[in-house]
Amino acid sequence: MSKGYAAWLFVLPALIVLFLFFLLPVLAGFALSLTDFDLYALADIHNLRFTGLHNYLILLHRPLFWAALGHTLYFVAAGVPLSITASLGTALLLNSKLAWCKSFFRTALFAPVVTTLVAVALIWRYLFNTRHGLINYLFSLPGIHPVNWLGDPRWAMPTIILFAVWKNFGYNMVIFLAGLQTIPEELYEAARMDGASAFSQFRHITLPLLKPTLLLVVILTMSGYFQLFSEPYVITEGGPLQSTVSVLYLMYRDAFKWWELGLASAEAFVLFLLMFGVTAVFLRLVRRGGER
Protein backbone atom coordinates (compact mmCIF):
# COMPACT_ATOMS: atom_id res chain seq x y z
CA MET A 1 0.00 0.00 0.00
CA SER A 2 1.47 3.33 -0.99
CA LYS A 3 2.03 6.13 1.46
CA GLY A 4 -0.20 8.61 -0.35
CA TYR A 5 -3.10 6.19 -0.41
CA ALA A 6 -2.74 5.49 3.31
CA ALA A 7 -2.62 9.22 4.04
CA TRP A 8 -6.01 9.69 2.40
CA LEU A 9 -7.43 6.84 4.46
CA PHE A 10 -6.23 8.69 7.55
CA VAL A 11 -7.63 12.12 6.70
CA LEU A 12 -10.79 11.27 4.79
CA PRO A 13 -13.09 10.29 7.70
CA ALA A 14 -12.44 13.62 9.43
CA LEU A 15 -12.65 15.59 6.19
CA ILE A 16 -15.94 13.95 5.24
CA VAL A 17 -17.45 14.77 8.63
CA LEU A 18 -16.22 18.36 8.44
CA PHE A 19 -17.49 18.74 4.91
CA LEU A 20 -20.92 17.22 5.55
CA PHE A 21 -21.61 18.68 8.97
CA PHE A 22 -19.74 21.97 8.83
CA LEU A 23 -18.70 23.33 5.44
CA LEU A 24 -21.81 22.27 3.56
CA PRO A 25 -24.17 23.66 6.24
CA VAL A 26 -22.28 26.97 6.26
CA LEU A 27 -22.84 27.35 2.52
CA ALA A 28 -26.39 26.03 2.79
CA GLY A 29 -27.02 28.45 5.64
CA PHE A 30 -26.09 31.39 3.48
CA ALA A 31 -28.27 30.09 0.65
CA LEU A 32 -31.08 29.57 3.17
CA SER A 33 -30.83 33.17 4.34
CA LEU A 34 -31.75 34.22 0.79
CA THR A 35 -35.01 32.27 0.84
CA ASP A 36 -38.33 32.33 2.68
CA PHE A 37 -37.78 28.81 4.10
CA ASP A 38 -40.53 28.23 6.70
CA LEU A 39 -42.78 25.48 8.04
CA TYR A 40 -44.42 25.01 4.64
CA ALA A 41 -41.09 24.56 2.92
CA LEU A 42 -40.04 22.13 5.62
CA ALA A 43 -43.08 20.02 4.78
CA ASP A 44 -42.74 20.41 1.03
CA ILE A 45 -39.65 21.92 -0.56
CA HIS A 46 -41.73 23.17 -3.53
CA ASN A 47 -43.07 25.91 -1.29
CA LEU A 48 -39.61 27.45 -1.13
CA ARG A 49 -39.01 30.76 -2.84
CA PHE A 50 -35.83 32.67 -3.49
CA THR A 51 -36.21 36.11 -2.00
CA GLY A 52 -32.74 37.62 -2.38
CA LEU A 53 -31.79 39.98 0.41
CA HIS A 54 -35.36 40.34 1.61
CA ASN A 55 -34.65 38.65 4.98
CA TYR A 56 -31.79 41.04 5.66
CA LEU A 57 -34.05 43.99 4.83
CA ILE A 58 -36.69 42.65 7.23
CA LEU A 59 -34.07 42.52 9.97
CA LEU A 60 -33.07 46.12 9.32
CA HIS A 61 -36.64 47.18 10.03
CA ARG A 62 -37.24 44.93 12.98
CA PRO A 63 -36.84 46.63 16.38
CA LEU A 64 -36.47 43.33 18.24
CA PHE A 65 -33.48 42.39 16.10
CA TRP A 66 -31.79 45.70 16.85
CA ALA A 67 -32.60 45.21 20.51
CA ALA A 68 -31.05 41.74 20.41
CA LEU A 69 -27.94 43.15 18.74
CA GLY A 70 -27.79 45.82 21.43
CA HIS A 71 -28.10 43.27 24.25
CA THR A 72 -25.41 41.09 22.69
CA LEU A 73 -23.06 44.06 22.32
CA TYR A 74 -23.81 45.10 25.91
CA PHE A 75 -22.91 41.61 27.07
CA VAL A 76 -19.68 41.64 25.06
CA ALA A 77 -18.68 45.20 25.91
CA ALA A 78 -19.18 44.72 29.66
CA GLY A 79 -18.49 41.02 29.97
CA VAL A 80 -15.20 40.78 28.08
CA PRO A 81 -13.29 43.48 29.99
CA LEU A 82 -14.66 42.29 33.33
CA SER A 83 -13.87 38.70 32.54
CA ILE A 84 -10.34 39.45 31.38
CA THR A 85 -9.65 41.71 34.36
CA ALA A 86 -10.76 38.94 36.70
CA SER A 87 -8.58 36.42 34.84
CA LEU A 88 -5.51 38.64 34.84
CA GLY A 89 -6.01 39.63 38.47
CA THR A 90 -6.25 36.08 39.71
CA ALA A 91 -3.37 34.98 37.47
CA LEU A 92 -1.18 37.71 39.00
CA LEU A 93 -2.16 36.60 42.50
CA LEU A 94 -1.40 32.97 41.69
CA ASN A 95 1.88 33.86 40.05
CA SER A 96 3.07 35.75 43.11
CA LYS A 97 5.93 34.10 44.99
CA LEU A 98 4.08 34.86 48.20
CA ALA A 99 1.03 32.74 47.37
CA TRP A 100 0.44 29.54 49.34
CA CYS A 101 -0.87 26.22 47.99
CA LYS A 102 -1.01 27.47 44.45
CA SER A 103 -2.20 24.26 42.88
CA PHE A 104 -5.20 24.09 45.22
CA PHE A 105 -6.18 27.66 44.42
CA ARG A 106 -5.65 27.13 40.72
CA THR A 107 -7.84 24.04 40.62
CA ALA A 108 -10.55 25.65 42.72
CA LEU A 109 -10.60 28.80 40.59
CA PHE A 110 -10.73 26.74 37.43
CA ALA A 111 -13.54 24.45 38.61
CA PRO A 112 -16.46 26.60 37.31
CA VAL A 113 -15.03 26.37 33.77
CA VAL A 114 -15.55 22.62 33.49
CA THR A 115 -19.02 22.59 35.03
CA THR A 116 -22.10 22.19 32.86
CA LEU A 117 -23.47 25.62 32.01
CA VAL A 118 -27.13 24.70 32.37
CA ALA A 119 -26.56 23.19 35.81
CA VAL A 120 -24.64 26.11 37.26
CA ALA A 121 -26.97 28.63 35.63
CA LEU A 122 -29.71 27.06 37.74
CA ILE A 123 -27.65 27.76 40.87
CA TRP A 124 -27.39 31.36 39.74
CA ARG A 125 -31.13 31.59 39.22
CA TYR A 126 -31.65 30.41 42.78
CA LEU A 127 -28.91 32.61 44.27
CA PHE A 128 -30.43 35.69 42.67
CA ASN A 129 -34.04 34.79 43.39
CA THR A 130 -35.79 37.91 44.67
CA ARG A 131 -37.68 36.33 47.55
CA HIS A 132 -35.43 33.60 48.89
CA GLY A 133 -32.11 34.08 47.14
CA LEU A 134 -28.91 34.15 49.11
CA ILE A 135 -27.73 37.36 47.44
CA ASN A 136 -30.73 39.40 48.54
CA TYR A 137 -30.34 37.95 52.01
CA LEU A 138 -26.72 39.13 52.15
CA PHE A 139 -27.86 42.53 50.87
CA SER A 140 -30.53 42.69 53.54
CA LEU A 141 -27.93 42.41 56.33
CA PRO A 142 -26.70 46.00 55.90
CA GLY A 143 -30.31 47.02 55.21
CA ILE A 144 -30.37 47.16 51.40
CA HIS A 145 -33.82 46.59 49.94
CA PRO A 146 -34.23 43.38 47.95
CA VAL A 147 -33.35 43.81 44.30
CA ASN A 148 -35.48 42.12 41.70
CA TRP A 149 -32.40 40.79 39.90
CA LEU A 150 -34.02 38.62 37.27
CA GLY A 151 -37.36 40.43 37.07
CA ASP A 152 -36.08 43.94 36.45
CA PRO A 153 -34.92 44.73 32.90
CA ARG A 154 -32.14 46.91 34.30
CA TRP A 155 -30.67 44.14 36.43
CA ALA A 156 -31.22 40.99 34.39
CA MET A 157 -28.33 41.51 31.99
CA PRO A 158 -25.82 42.55 34.67
CA THR A 159 -26.74 39.38 36.58
CA ILE A 160 -26.07 37.30 33.48
CA ILE A 161 -22.77 39.12 32.93
CA LEU A 162 -21.71 38.35 36.50
CA PHE A 163 -22.58 34.74 35.92
CA ALA A 164 -20.54 34.58 32.72
CA VAL A 165 -17.54 36.16 34.42
CA TRP A 166 -17.77 33.71 37.31
CA LYS A 167 -18.10 30.76 34.94
CA ASN A 168 -15.36 31.71 32.48
CA PHE A 169 -12.56 33.65 34.15
CA GLY A 170 -10.62 30.50 35.11
CA TYR A 171 -10.01 29.62 31.48
CA ASN A 172 -8.12 32.80 30.63
CA MET A 173 -6.51 32.77 34.06
CA VAL A 174 -4.68 29.57 33.13
CA ILE A 175 -3.55 31.08 29.82
CA PHE A 176 -2.35 34.25 31.55
CA LEU A 177 -0.57 32.21 34.19
CA ALA A 178 1.39 30.36 31.50
CA GLY A 179 2.22 33.71 29.87
CA LEU A 180 3.37 35.21 33.16
CA GLN A 181 5.65 32.27 33.83
CA THR A 182 7.60 32.96 30.64
CA ILE A 183 8.60 36.44 31.86
CA PRO A 184 12.16 36.22 33.21
CA GLU A 185 12.45 36.91 36.92
CA GLU A 186 15.64 38.97 36.36
CA LEU A 187 13.60 41.74 34.76
CA TYR A 188 11.64 42.21 37.97
CA GLU A 189 14.79 42.00 40.08
CA ALA A 190 16.47 44.69 38.01
CA ALA A 191 13.37 46.86 38.26
CA ARG A 192 13.24 46.46 42.02
CA MET A 193 16.87 47.49 42.30
CA ASP A 194 16.00 50.63 40.40
CA GLY A 195 13.28 51.18 42.97
CA ALA A 196 10.30 50.53 40.71
CA SER A 197 6.99 50.11 42.54
CA ALA A 198 4.88 46.99 42.10
CA PHE A 199 2.49 48.96 39.93
CA SER A 200 5.17 50.32 37.64
CA GLN A 201 6.67 46.84 37.32
CA PHE A 202 3.26 45.65 36.17
CA ARG A 203 2.87 48.62 33.84
CA HIS A 204 6.31 48.47 32.25
CA ILE A 205 7.30 44.80 32.37
CA THR A 206 4.32 42.51 32.80
CA LEU A 207 1.86 44.26 30.52
CA PRO A 208 4.14 44.77 27.48
CA LEU A 209 5.51 41.22 27.66
CA LEU A 210 2.04 39.80 28.10
CA LYS A 211 0.68 41.68 25.10
CA PRO A 212 0.62 38.76 22.62
CA THR A 213 -1.20 36.59 25.17
CA LEU A 214 -3.58 39.43 25.97
CA LEU A 215 -4.38 39.93 22.30
CA LEU A 216 -5.19 36.27 21.81
CA VAL A 217 -7.30 36.14 24.95
CA VAL A 218 -9.30 39.22 23.94
CA ILE A 219 -10.08 37.78 20.52
CA LEU A 220 -11.05 34.34 21.80
CA THR A 221 -13.13 35.77 24.63
CA MET A 222 -14.92 38.23 22.37
CA SER A 223 -15.88 35.55 19.91
CA GLY A 224 -17.11 33.36 22.75
CA TYR A 225 -19.18 36.15 24.31
CA PHE A 226 -20.85 37.06 21.02
CA GLN A 227 -22.31 33.56 21.08
CA LEU A 228 -24.49 34.29 24.10
CA PHE A 229 -27.37 31.85 24.22
CA SER A 230 -27.59 29.31 27.03
CA GLU A 231 -27.34 31.84 29.88
CA PRO A 232 -30.48 33.79 28.93
CA TYR A 233 -32.20 30.57 27.86
CA VAL A 234 -31.83 29.04 31.32
CA ILE A 235 -31.67 32.02 33.66
CA THR A 236 -34.19 34.49 32.23
CA GLU A 237 -35.76 32.89 29.14
CA GLY A 238 -34.94 36.12 27.33
CA GLY A 239 -36.95 38.24 29.77
CA PRO A 240 -37.90 40.36 31.54
CA LEU A 241 -39.47 42.40 28.71
CA GLN A 242 -37.08 40.74 26.23
CA SER A 243 -34.19 42.54 27.91
CA THR A 244 -31.88 39.53 27.70
CA VAL A 245 -32.79 38.37 24.19
CA SER A 246 -29.46 37.93 22.41
CA VAL A 247 -29.02 37.48 18.68
CA LEU A 248 -28.63 33.71 19.04
CA TYR A 249 -31.60 33.50 21.39
CA LEU A 250 -33.67 35.34 18.80
CA MET A 251 -32.31 33.05 16.08
CA TYR A 252 -33.25 29.99 18.12
CA ARG A 253 -36.75 31.28 18.77
CA ASP A 254 -37.39 32.39 15.20
CA ALA A 255 -36.07 29.12 13.81
CA PHE A 256 -37.38 26.49 16.18
CA LYS A 257 -40.43 28.10 17.69
CA TRP A 258 -41.80 30.06 14.74
CA TRP A 259 -40.07 27.97 12.04
CA GLU A 260 -38.86 31.06 10.18
CA LEU A 261 -35.72 29.18 9.15
CA GLY A 262 -34.72 31.52 6.31
CA LEU A 263 -35.02 34.64 8.44
CA ALA A 264 -33.20 32.99 11.35
CA SER A 265 -30.34 32.00 9.03
CA ALA A 266 -29.97 35.63 8.07
CA GLU A 267 -29.75 36.50 11.78
CA ALA A 268 -26.98 33.94 12.23
CA PHE A 269 -25.04 35.40 9.33
CA VAL A 270 -25.39 38.96 10.56
CA LEU A 271 -23.96 37.83 13.90
CA PHE A 272 -21.08 36.10 12.13
CA LEU A 273 -20.31 39.22 10.08
CA LEU A 274 -20.51 41.36 13.18
CA MET A 275 -18.06 39.10 15.04
CA PHE A 276 -15.74 39.11 12.08
CA GLY A 277 -15.96 42.89 11.72
CA VAL A 278 -15.40 43.66 15.38
CA THR A 279 -12.39 41.33 15.51
CA ALA A 280 -10.91 42.88 12.36
CA VAL A 281 -11.37 46.43 13.69
CA PHE A 282 -9.83 45.40 17.00
CA LEU A 283 -6.77 43.88 15.32
CA ARG A 284 -6.39 46.96 13.18
CA LEU A 285 -6.50 49.26 16.20
CA VAL A 286 -3.93 47.13 17.99
CA ARG A 287 -1.59 47.17 15.01
CA ARG A 288 -1.89 50.90 14.60
CA GLY A 289 -1.27 51.34 18.31
CA GLY A 290 1.83 49.15 17.95
CA GLU A 291 3.35 51.35 15.26
CA ARG A 292 3.26 54.49 17.33
Binding site: L134, W166, S265
Partner: protein
Protein backbone atom coordinates in the same frame (compact mmCIF):
# COMPACT_ATOMS: atom_id res chain seq x y z
CA UNK B 1 9.93 43.58 57.45
CA UNK B 2 7.46 44.79 54.86
CA UNK B 3 6.99 41.29 53.46
CA UNK B 4 4.30 40.11 55.87
CA UNK B 5 1.44 42.47 54.93
CA UNK B 6 1.93 41.72 51.25
CA UNK B 7 1.82 38.02 51.98
CA UNK B 8 -1.36 38.34 54.01
CA UNK B 9 -2.95 40.57 51.39
CA UNK B 10 -2.20 38.23 48.48
CA UNK B 11 -3.30 35.08 50.25
CA UNK B 12 -6.32 36.83 51.71
CA UNK B 13 -7.41 37.91 48.24
CA UNK B 14 -6.86 34.42 46.92
CA UNK B 15 -9.03 32.96 49.66
CA UNK B 16 -11.76 35.48 48.82
CA UNK B 17 -11.86 34.79 45.08
CA UNK B 18 -11.68 31.07 45.70
CA UNK B 19 -14.66 31.38 48.03
CA UNK B 20 -16.61 33.21 45.32
CA UNK B 21 -15.64 30.47 42.88
CA UNK B 22 -16.54 27.52 45.06
CA UNK B 23 -19.39 28.71 47.28
CA UNK B 24 -22.08 28.49 44.61
CA UNK B 25 -21.02 24.90 43.91
CA UNK B 26 -20.92 23.99 47.60
CA UNK B 27 -24.26 25.62 48.15
CA UNK B 28 -25.71 23.60 45.28
CA UNK B 29 -24.50 20.47 47.03
CA UNK B 30 -25.89 21.58 50.37
CA UNK B 31 -29.32 22.59 49.04
CA UNK B 32 -29.63 19.32 47.15
CA UNK B 33 -29.81 17.55 50.53
CA UNK B 34 -32.40 19.89 52.05
CA UNK B 35 -36.08 19.14 52.44
CA UNK B 36 -38.17 21.16 50.01
CA UNK B 37 -39.67 23.41 52.73
CA UNK B 38 -36.29 24.30 54.26
CA UNK B 39 -34.92 25.65 51.00
CA UNK B 40 -37.88 27.96 50.42
CA UNK B 41 -37.36 29.80 53.70
CA UNK B 42 -35.84 33.23 54.13
CA UNK B 43 -33.06 33.59 55.08
CA UNK B 44 -32.09 30.59 53.00
CA UNK B 45 -30.21 28.05 55.08
CA UNK B 46 -26.53 27.47 54.35
CA UNK B 47 -26.28 23.92 55.57
CA UNK B 48 -28.63 21.01 55.28
CA UNK B 49 -29.13 20.41 58.99
CA UNK B 50 -31.26 17.35 58.51
CA UNK B 51 -29.89 15.99 55.25
CA UNK B 52 -32.24 13.97 53.12
CA UNK B 53 -31.93 12.03 49.87
CA UNK B 54 -35.56 12.85 49.07
CA UNK B 55 -34.65 15.24 46.23
CA UNK B 56 -32.50 12.66 44.52
CA UNK B 57 -35.23 10.08 44.97
CA UNK B 58 -37.82 12.33 43.35
CA UNK B 59 -35.37 13.15 40.58
CA UNK B 60 -34.68 9.56 39.70
CA UNK B 61 -38.07 8.03 40.42
CA UNK B 62 -40.43 10.67 39.05
CA UNK B 63 -38.34 12.82 36.71
CA UNK B 64 -36.57 9.93 34.97
CA UNK B 65 -33.08 11.25 35.67
CA UNK B 66 -31.46 7.82 35.26
CA UNK B 67 -32.51 7.76 31.63
CA UNK B 68 -31.04 11.18 30.89
CA UNK B 69 -27.86 10.27 32.70
CA UNK B 70 -27.60 7.16 30.54
CA UNK B 71 -28.20 9.20 27.36
CA UNK B 72 -25.47 11.65 28.30
CA UNK B 73 -23.00 8.88 29.08
CA UNK B 74 -23.85 7.18 25.80
CA UNK B 75 -23.63 10.29 23.62
CA UNK B 76 -20.44 11.62 25.21
CA UNK B 77 -18.71 8.22 25.10
CA UNK B 78 -19.54 7.47 21.48
CA UNK B 79 -18.63 11.01 20.40
CA UNK B 80 -15.33 10.74 22.26
CA UNK B 81 -14.42 7.36 20.76
CA UNK B 82 -15.29 8.15 17.16
CA UNK B 83 -13.92 11.68 17.15
CA UNK B 84 -10.68 10.44 18.71
CA UNK B 85 -10.32 7.94 15.90
CA UNK B 86 -11.03 10.54 13.17
CA UNK B 87 -9.05 13.40 14.69
CA UNK B 88 -6.00 11.40 15.70
CA UNK B 89 -5.56 9.71 12.31
CA UNK B 90 -6.12 13.01 10.50
CA UNK B 91 -3.82 14.97 12.81
CA UNK B 92 -1.08 12.41 12.33
CA UNK B 93 -1.48 12.43 8.53
CA UNK B 94 -1.35 16.24 8.42
CA UNK B 95 1.83 16.14 10.48
CA UNK B 96 3.77 13.25 9.04
CA UNK B 97 2.40 11.90 5.77
CA UNK B 98 2.62 13.52 2.35
CA UNK B 99 -0.34 13.90 0.07
CA UNK B 100 -1.49 16.35 -2.56
CA UNK B 101 -2.79 19.61 -1.11
CA UNK B 102 -1.94 18.71 2.48
CA UNK B 103 -0.93 22.14 3.71
CA UNK B 104 -3.55 23.95 1.70
CA UNK B 105 -6.32 21.80 3.17
CA UNK B 106 -4.96 22.25 6.67
CA UNK B 107 -4.87 26.02 6.37
CA UNK B 108 -8.41 26.02 5.05
CA UNK B 109 -9.46 24.05 8.12
CA UNK B 110 -7.75 26.55 10.41
CA UNK B 111 -9.47 29.36 8.56
CA UNK B 112 -12.82 27.69 9.22
CA UNK B 113 -12.26 28.18 12.96
CA UNK B 114 -13.48 31.79 12.67
CA UNK B 115 -16.96 30.59 11.67
CA UNK B 116 -19.17 30.10 14.74
CA UNK B 117 -20.88 26.72 14.72
CA UNK B 118 -24.31 28.31 15.26
CA UNK B 119 -24.25 29.40 11.62
CA UNK B 120 -24.52 25.71 10.68
CA UNK B 121 -27.29 24.74 13.05
CA UNK B 122 -30.36 25.63 11.01
CA UNK B 123 -29.24 24.06 7.71
CA UNK B 124 -27.90 21.07 9.64
CA UNK B 125 -31.28 20.64 11.28
CA UNK B 126 -33.00 20.63 7.88
CA UNK B 127 -30.42 18.21 6.44
CA UNK B 128 -30.80 15.82 9.36
CA UNK B 129 -34.57 16.08 9.15
CA UNK B 130 -34.40 14.86 5.56
CA UNK B 131 -32.06 12.08 6.65
CA UNK B 132 -34.42 11.09 9.47
CA UNK B 133 -31.86 11.90 12.13
CA UNK B 134 -33.75 14.58 14.03
CA UNK B 135 -34.57 13.38 17.54
CA UNK B 136 -31.95 10.65 17.27
CA UNK B 137 -28.65 10.28 19.09
CA UNK B 138 -26.84 10.14 15.74
CA UNK B 139 -28.12 13.62 14.98
CA UNK B 140 -26.86 14.97 18.29
CA UNK B 141 -23.47 13.38 17.72
CA UNK B 142 -22.94 14.09 14.02
CA UNK B 143 -21.35 17.55 14.12
CA UNK B 144 -19.02 16.55 16.96
CA UNK B 145 -17.51 13.51 15.25
CA UNK B 146 -14.52 15.47 13.97
CA UNK B 147 -13.13 18.85 14.88
CA UNK B 148 -10.52 21.24 13.59
CA UNK B 149 -9.32 21.94 17.12
CA UNK B 150 -8.70 18.24 17.78
CA UNK B 151 -6.90 17.74 14.48
CA UNK B 152 -4.77 20.80 15.20
CA UNK B 153 -3.88 19.57 18.67
CA UNK B 154 -2.81 16.13 17.44
CA UNK B 155 -0.89 17.59 14.50
CA UNK B 156 1.11 19.89 16.78
CA UNK B 157 2.04 16.97 18.97
CA UNK B 158 2.72 14.48 16.15
CA UNK B 159 5.14 16.92 14.51
CA UNK B 160 7.53 16.36 17.40
CA UNK B 161 7.84 12.62 16.64
CA UNK B 162 11.22 11.80 15.02
CA UNK B 163 10.97 11.05 11.29
CA UNK B 164 13.84 8.55 11.52
CA UNK B 165 11.70 6.27 13.64
CA UNK B 166 8.98 6.10 10.98
CA UNK B 167 11.51 5.77 8.14
CA UNK B 168 13.29 2.91 9.90
CA UNK B 169 10.00 1.05 10.22
CA UNK B 170 9.23 1.65 6.54
CA UNK B 171 12.64 0.28 5.55
CA UNK B 172 11.86 -2.79 7.63
CA UNK B 173 8.83 -3.23 5.41
CA UNK B 174 6.09 -2.21 7.83
CA UNK B 175 2.90 -0.89 6.20
CA UNK B 176 1.48 2.52 7.10
CA UNK B 177 -1.37 1.05 9.15
CA UNK B 178 1.04 -1.06 11.14
CA UNK B 179 3.37 1.88 11.74
CA UNK B 180 0.44 3.93 12.95
CA UNK B 181 -0.90 1.25 15.26
CA UNK B 182 2.40 -0.02 16.63
CA UNK B 183 4.65 3.03 16.75
CA UNK B 184 2.65 6.23 16.43
CA UNK B 185 -0.35 5.51 18.66
CA UNK B 186 1.68 4.62 21.77
CA UNK B 187 3.77 7.76 21.33
CA UNK B 188 0.66 9.92 20.95
CA UNK B 189 -0.86 8.64 24.18
CA UNK B 190 -0.56 11.89 26.19
CA UNK B 191 -2.27 13.98 23.53
CA UNK B 192 -4.92 11.30 23.07
CA UNK B 193 -5.78 11.46 26.78
CA UNK B 194 -5.89 15.26 26.58
CA UNK B 195 -8.17 15.20 23.58
CA UNK B 196 -10.37 12.52 25.14
CA UNK B 197 -10.98 14.64 28.25
CA UNK B 198 -11.65 17.73 26.17
CA UNK B 199 -14.09 15.98 23.87
CA UNK B 200 -15.93 14.18 26.62
CA UNK B 201 -16.41 17.39 28.61
CA UNK B 202 -17.46 19.36 25.53
CA UNK B 203 -19.97 16.75 24.52
CA UNK B 204 -21.32 16.30 28.05
CA UNK B 205 -21.76 20.04 28.54
CA UNK B 206 -23.07 20.74 25.04
CA UNK B 207 -26.45 22.41 25.18
CA UNK B 208 -27.60 24.41 22.17
CA UNK B 209 -27.27 21.75 19.50
CA UNK B 210 -28.83 18.88 21.49
CA UNK B 211 -31.62 21.27 22.49
CA UNK B 212 -32.34 21.88 18.82
CA UNK B 213 -31.97 18.39 17.46
CA UNK B 214 -33.36 16.28 20.32
CA UNK B 215 -36.97 17.35 20.00
CA UNK B 216 -38.56 14.76 22.27
CA UNK B 217 -37.76 14.05 25.90
CA UNK B 218 -37.25 10.35 25.19
CA UNK B 219 -33.82 11.33 23.82
CA UNK B 220 -32.84 14.24 26.07
CA UNK B 221 -29.30 14.50 27.39
CA UNK B 222 -28.76 15.82 30.94
CA UNK B 223 -28.40 19.54 30.15
CA UNK B 224 -31.46 19.56 27.90
CA UNK B 225 -33.48 17.57 30.43
CA UNK B 226 -32.34 19.84 33.24
CA UNK B 227 -33.36 22.97 31.34
CA UNK B 228 -36.76 21.46 30.60
CA UNK B 229 -37.27 20.32 34.20
CA UNK B 230 -36.31 23.74 35.53
CA UNK B 231 -39.12 25.30 33.49
CA UNK B 232 -41.63 22.83 34.91
CA UNK B 233 -40.46 22.98 38.52
CA UNK B 234 -39.49 26.63 38.96
CA UNK B 235 -40.21 26.56 42.69
CA UNK B 236 -38.59 23.24 43.46
CA UNK B 237 -35.04 24.47 44.01
CA UNK B 238 -33.76 21.47 46.01
CA UNK B 239 -34.70 19.04 43.27
CA UNK B 240 -33.12 21.27 40.63
CA UNK B 241 -29.95 21.53 42.70
CA UNK B 242 -29.90 17.75 42.99
CA UNK B 243 -30.22 17.59 39.20
CA UNK B 244 -27.34 20.04 38.87
CA UNK B 245 -25.20 17.91 41.17
CA UNK B 246 -25.90 14.80 39.10
CA UNK B 247 -24.99 16.71 35.94
CA UNK B 248 -21.88 18.49 37.20
CA UNK B 249 -20.32 15.84 39.41
CA UNK B 250 -19.20 13.39 36.70
CA UNK B 251 -17.35 16.03 34.68
CA UNK B 252 -15.91 17.69 37.76
CA UNK B 253 -14.49 14.36 38.95
CA UNK B 254 -13.16 13.57 35.50
CA UNK B 255 -11.47 16.95 35.41
CA UNK B 256 -9.96 16.51 38.87
CA UNK B 257 -8.58 13.11 37.90
CA UNK B 258 -7.07 14.22 34.59
CA UNK B 259 -6.49 17.88 35.31
CA UNK B 260 -2.90 17.91 34.09
CA UNK B 261 -3.86 16.66 30.63
CA UNK B 262 -6.75 19.09 30.39
CA UNK B 263 -4.65 22.15 31.23
CA UNK B 264 -1.94 21.06 28.79
CA UNK B 265 -4.47 20.80 26.01
CA UNK B 266 -5.93 24.17 26.88
CA UNK B 267 -2.50 25.79 26.67
CA UNK B 268 -1.51 23.94 23.49
CA UNK B 269 -4.72 25.05 21.86
CA UNK B 270 -4.32 28.68 22.81
CA UNK B 271 -0.91 29.33 21.31
CA UNK B 272 -2.07 28.84 17.75
CA UNK B 273 -2.51 32.61 17.12
Amino acid sequence: MSFRPAKVLINGLLVCVTAVSLLPLLWMLSVSFMPKEAAAGFPPPFLALRPTLENYRRLFVYAGMARYLLHSVLVASVVTLISLWFNVTAGYAFAKLRFAGRDRIFHMLLGALVIPSQVTMIPLFIMLKWMGLVNAYAGAMAPMLAGVFGIFLVRQYARTLPDELLEAARIDGAGEMRIFARIVLPLLKPIIVTLAVFTFLASWNDFMWPLIVLTGQDHYTLPVALAALSREHTQDSPMMMAGSVVTVLPVLLLFLALQRYYIQGLLAGSVKG
